[in-house]
Subunit: 399 residues, 2 copies
Amino acid sequence: MGLLVRVAQRSRHMTFSSVRLISSFRADELQIRLTNTPSVKPDNDKLKFGAHTSDHLLEVDWTEKHGWSAPVIRPVEPLRIHPAAKVLHYACELFEGMKAYRCVDGKIRMFRPMENMERMAASAGRSALPAFDTTELLKCIKKLIAVDQEWVPYSEKCSLYIRPTFIGTEPALGVTYSNEAKLFVIVGPVGPYFPTGMKPVGLLADPQYVRAWPGGCGNFKMGSNYAPTVSVQATAAKLGCQQVLWLYGDDHEMTEVGTMNLFVYWINEQGEEELVTPPLESGLILPGVTRKSLLNLAREWNEFKVSEQTLTMATFVKAVNEGRVKEVFGAGTACIVCPVNRILYQGEELHLRTMDDPEHLTQRFYKEINDIHFYRKPHEWMEPIEEDVSEAVRKFSAQ
Amino acid sequence: MGLLVRVAQRSRHMTFSSVRLISSFRADELQIRLTNTPSVKPDNDKLKFGAHTSDHLLEVDWTEKHGWSAPVIRPVEPLRIHPAAKVLHYACELFEGMKAYRCVDGKIRMFRPMENMERMAASAGRSALPAFDTTELLKCIKKLIAVDQEWVPYSEKCSLYIRPTFIGTEPALGVTYSNEAKLFVIVGPVGPYFPTGMKPVGLLADPQYVRAWPGGCGNFKMGSNYAPTVSVQATAAKLGCQQVLWLYGDDHEMTEVGTMNLFVYWINEQGEEELVTPPLESGLILPGVTRKSLLNLAREWNEFKVSEQTLTMATFVKAVNEGRVKEVFGAGTACIVCPVNRILYQGEELHLRTMDDPEHLTQRFYKEINDIHFYRKPHEWMEPIEEDVSEAVRKFSAQ
């Protein structure tokens, strides 16, 4: 990889603690090396989430001494990581999850990508990883999608999952910021979350397991939020639940569902029809792009009250018992929405209505967002990529 | 690496959630491949913590399908890790920190290594990584130290730092347990934590930053506990403090110091001389080996009261103001003990006595543990390694 580094015009600040002025890599310095051995693409009906990687990845390296190197698109191969690298010991890592769709007009588009870019920059600040120009990263990601455009499924049920990742690679065991880092992006086709129609899930709500807490990092997409959840998820599975409903505090605040944001659609105590999701201010909630989009849509519809407020289990159980809870669902990039029909809480099962009826809100959101994704309903949220990469490839081949 | 896998006699259970019967790797299957290009060892007076890696590492791979492979000692080279590996996204990783010393009788010994092995097994269970036979791992680590025995400093001030690490390597983006894993151990020489005599540190105690919480993983040595602390540490540095005093809860419980356990030596409210450290039951405290050893020593001395109990800032500040706090220090593998002379709390500086006097408890602990480490005071805590590896090397060379 070339070590040529140019100083970008813009510089950015760390968002959390230390203020370091750092130049960014630039998309116009992108180098492309294509594979000679492209993989066979999996059938659309056999796609498993996160199991398939396309032929190429995007990679940009940073060192404190030399700043950012030129971004490179190259064949997917194992990364060479020193065994003392901070990412392997202190979880110096963060990621994003986003998608691109092959729309009904044949164009490939991404869903609100700058939302993910800005969240990634915030996670980098919290992780003491270097800043970068988010618009430059998005340009590079679009090039990667263009290079691997045949990996975007020809299907209105499937999509290309995009995983930007940022790791600290300095080979030194001190618990401090990493003076070397690698930003990379892998992509791969994913199938529909519900191949045979929406399937509601059951949740384990046990206050002994806590995902995030005030003063922690629950509102950033850092790897460290996920490792602690894996064995809790296994516990939920043993109890016949598909996901965990994460509670917090003595009053058992309902915070998130598995790796999704939580939504409750109910008649509130004032008798109003209301969609509620926990607020971001607590620092316990990941600011999900799907969460934000559903709030945007519901407020635009203006058919019922839309609130970001704390929900406790006591309030919720009361509402269930009084027949006021209409729907509960998780929201995230993988599934868009995921209905909940059962919550196991303090040894009792709360049964919730399911929502196969297309009139139901969960279904309506699902259809609306899907229509936007595939551009059946054109929307400014969808951002096209430039499919033609021949110039960039030619430029590289000439070097 | 050979893929020969034999089924061990013993099998072990996951400690946390799922119960999986898993065979272990075995030390008698160890394969050794020596480097042809040994590195130049750094001077003892230029050692920086965690910056130097010896010539060889120990590596053992596991897959759900094939179980553990034979352990291998091989030259240190970058690990080849798939960009979709769970360790890079979800912090599927844990580690240990331990030391070996070149003792005054010329033998190399480790300090209480089974304590670290058992804690590592517990961390693996919490991380949904596979179980292994801890005694077999220790045997393999001893072989690694024997192979790199010239890296154990010839000095009564330096030691060999040992870093067992365990990562989930499955290349799949689902947030679930890893069906592939790699356990590896690197070692490297480290200098004295205080090259020019014990230097007290100042602490930032700000309740807005929280290291661990009930229902989390603060009592396991998982990578996910560390990433969130790095930018907080940077904030402390900006305020002129060397470390963070981690507080928890509305009553500002004092929990840990940086990456160390906390000790307070004071006259308690009942007028008794007492050594206090926060209790393990809360789940907020890492069960440190140095912590345990200091408690063991103090209880053996039987000269003052020794307590594991919760300390709040209110109680502590009152004691400081009443002149009852004699010493405050952190305890850990890197420094043994680290005296604290200043705490910045709610905009005010609490000044604590420093302890240059060898009569002081911090100094006494430091000397006592050092005497044990270097076998000036022979102690059962010190476990010798078998320095002769010629047979193992011969066996490998013959293959």
